[in-house]
């Protein structure tokens, strides 16, 4: 009981994940800045931003349902934190593994996007509502390719448990090469999930100002910011657990450092993508997801099935 | 180098030939012709320049207050670089009504709206629209470009009161 509480609140739960997310927000922003030939923020900037937001007044629009308006960010943050508990960090097993936890993690990761939609919808502001509708439309576009891309490796491993997938590829590292198309699809769709450029359509500031979060302020906005940051870490961790489950099973320290390195690689790719591309229009994004990414993910499933058949 | 302004004088000659205008008062410079014509002849002359001499580009419309008259200047250009400034005067008596040139130059909307807003003339044939360039809450009957209009003294060291 006490151990579970420790795991949820401190490690690897809320506090550890929060700290890790601040580190990777810094890494993301610094890399982005350096790629653009700028100095970028100092290391404490993400923390300072959060502290600043926490100290600001929280304004709830008159027309908004104040209870729901305040509860939505909590749900968002709780869902991403919960998802992290099922992802292996330094060993093959996550802290609370069970059968089919991949499905649970994916559902947990869908919750933040739904909360963005609800947050925008209940803000009773034009920009927020436009952002909400865009977030929802985008969800329908990237979610299917993302799921299919993760389904392929799981099919090949023959398990729905992340720990099981990790263990399988740890034993058969050569089979990781089969999953390269799925890796690419999942990195691109992860960018859509995280609502970062070129898929930052729901909060494109030149079009709809702050998007979903236009009416949010103070600690509620801080919670949303933390959700976005933790989501980055969780998604990167998920991708590295499924696609790079290499060199694990050693000591906890080495495993942990390796975990950080893998996260860095994924975050680096996500940042590079953010810096290198112009924002898509909604119709282009939907077209791209359905006409390019979904077929690639589908092909991956076929390949995985064929490989699995050949191995048997 | 004293140029004889062949092209510029050619334009004047064509206008003279067609409308029998008095072109003695015209000023001719390099690439520039400034011609004052009677109000009645203006629209026909403008159409002639637009349609037959290829003065297809309306650069600007200037309205000015000369005290007893309002003067309107239409700066029109052709691709070769000649700009004709066609001017006419109307008696300054309220309300001053002039004709729109929109049928000849469709891009003239804002230039004519500016005449309405700043000089207080009525441009007949200009579609309804928000006044330009003065703000919506500008007092009625105040036209800054009239010579008898003086801006209110305001001490810029004092902050202006918010709305």
């Amino acid at each position: 009981m006490w151990l579970a509480l420790f795991q949820i609140v401190i490690f690897p739960g809320f506090l550890f994940l929060g700290a890790l997310s601040l580190v990777f927000e810094y890494v993301d922003r610094k890399l982005y800045a350096r790629m653009q030939n700028r100095i970028g923020p100092p290391w404490y900037q993400p923390l300072a931003d959060i502290v600043k937001l926490l100290s600001k007044e929280t304004i709830v629009p008159c027309d908004a349902d104040s209870h729901l308006f305040g509860a939505i960010p909590v749900f968002a943050l709780a869902a991403t934190c919960a998802a992290f508990l099922y992802i292996p960090i330094w060993s093959i097993n996550s802290l609370m593994p069970f059968d089919s936890d991949l499905i649970v993690v994916l559902y947990f990761l869908t919750i933040p996007t739904l909360t963005y939609f609800l947050a925008g919808w209940f803000s009773s502001s034009l920009f927020a509502e436009l952002g909400a509708i865009r977030a929802m439309t985008q969800l329908f576009a990237y979610e299917v390719p993302l799921y299919m891309a993760l389904l392929g490796p799981a099919l090949l491993a023959g398990t729905w448990s992340i720990s099981g997938i990790t263990a399988f590829y740890h034993q058969n590292p050569a089979l990781l090469l089969v999953n390269i198309p799925a890796l690419l699809v999942s990195i691109v769709t992860a960018q859509g999930k995280l609502e970062r450029a070129p898929f930052d359509i729901p909060d494109a500031e030149t079009e709809i100002v702050g998007g979903t979060f236009t009416e949010y302020s103070g600690r509620l906005l801080a919670m949303f910011k933390m959700t976005l940051n933790t989501e980055l870490v969780v998604v990167a961790a998920l991708i590295s657990a499924i696609f790079f489950p290499l060199f694990i099973g050693g000591s906890a320290v080495v495993g942990f450092l390796l975990f950080l390195v893998k996260l860095l690689v994924v975050v680096f790719l996500l940042t590079l993508m953010r810096a290198a591309l112009a924002r898509f229009r909604m119709d282009q994004m939907v077209n791209f997801c359905w006409k390019v990414l979904a077929p690639v993910a589908l092909a991956q499933i076929l390949i995985d099935l064929i490989v699995k058949g050949a191995l048997l | 180098m004293e140029a004889n302004f062949e092209r510029e004088n050619g334009v004047l000659a064509r206008l003279n030939e067609r409308f029998g205008l008095d072109i003695q008062g015209a000023a001719v410079k390099h690439n520039r012709v400034y011609l004052s014509i009677p109000e009645e002849a203006f629209m026909e002359a403008l159409k002639f320049l637009r349609n037959e001499l290829d003065f297809s580009h309306l650069c600007a419309i200037t309205g000015l207050d000369t005290g007893e008259n309002f003067e309107f200047l239409y700066h029109i250009a052709e691709p070769g670089g000649i700009v004709v400034t066609l001017k006419y005067k109307t008696k300054r008596e309220d309300p001053v009504v002039i004709q729109t040139v929109l049928p000849v130059y469709p891009g003239a909307t804002f230039y004519e709206r500016e005449l309405e807003g700043l000089l207080g003339v009525t441009v007949e044939g200009l579609p309804e629209g928000r006044q330009y360039p003065l703000p919506d809450n500008w007092p009625k009957g105040q036209y800054p470009l009239r010579k008898d209009w003086k801006p209110a003294k305001q001490n810029i060291d004092e902050p202006t009161k918010g709305v």
Partner: protein, 115 residues
């Protein structure tokens, strides 16, 4: 030929380069020698012709007589355009532009200065 991700090599290359931005105000910004910054007045040269007052487009400078052949200049930094026309117009070189550009102040009255 149009492809996606054309900027990637440049973006990666930039990671190895020194950044182009500086941490102003921690790092001093440099302005060129003949920068038109705040005015400097040398009252021993001024003969009180007030030409600078007349040419100023913004009525930003006032020359006042303090004693016989003694003048002081009052500049309204909030009105000054830093065009330097007064410097050009002064026949006695009593005025000059300095390189000082950090003139912001939270108090408007402090912007009217005797120089």
């Amino acid at each position: 030929m149009k492809t996606t991700g054309k900027m990637v090599p440049m973006l990666l290359n930039m990671l190895t380069k020194k950044s182009d931005t500086v941490l102003y105000p921690a790092v001093q910004a440099q302005v060129p020698d003949k920068f038109r910054g705040a005015l400097k007045f040398q009252n021993d040269r001024c003969v009180g012709c007030k030409l600078c007052m007349r040419v100023c487009p913004a009525n930003a400078i006032t020359i006042e007589k303090v004693a016989d052949k003694q003048f002081k200049a009052i500049v309204h930094l909030d009105k000054c355009l830093y065009c330097g026309q007064c410097v050009d117009s002064c026949n006695k070189d009593a005025l000059e532009n300095t390189q000082n550009f950090e003139l912001a102040s939270g108090d408007k009255s402090s912007l009217t200065r005797e120089i």
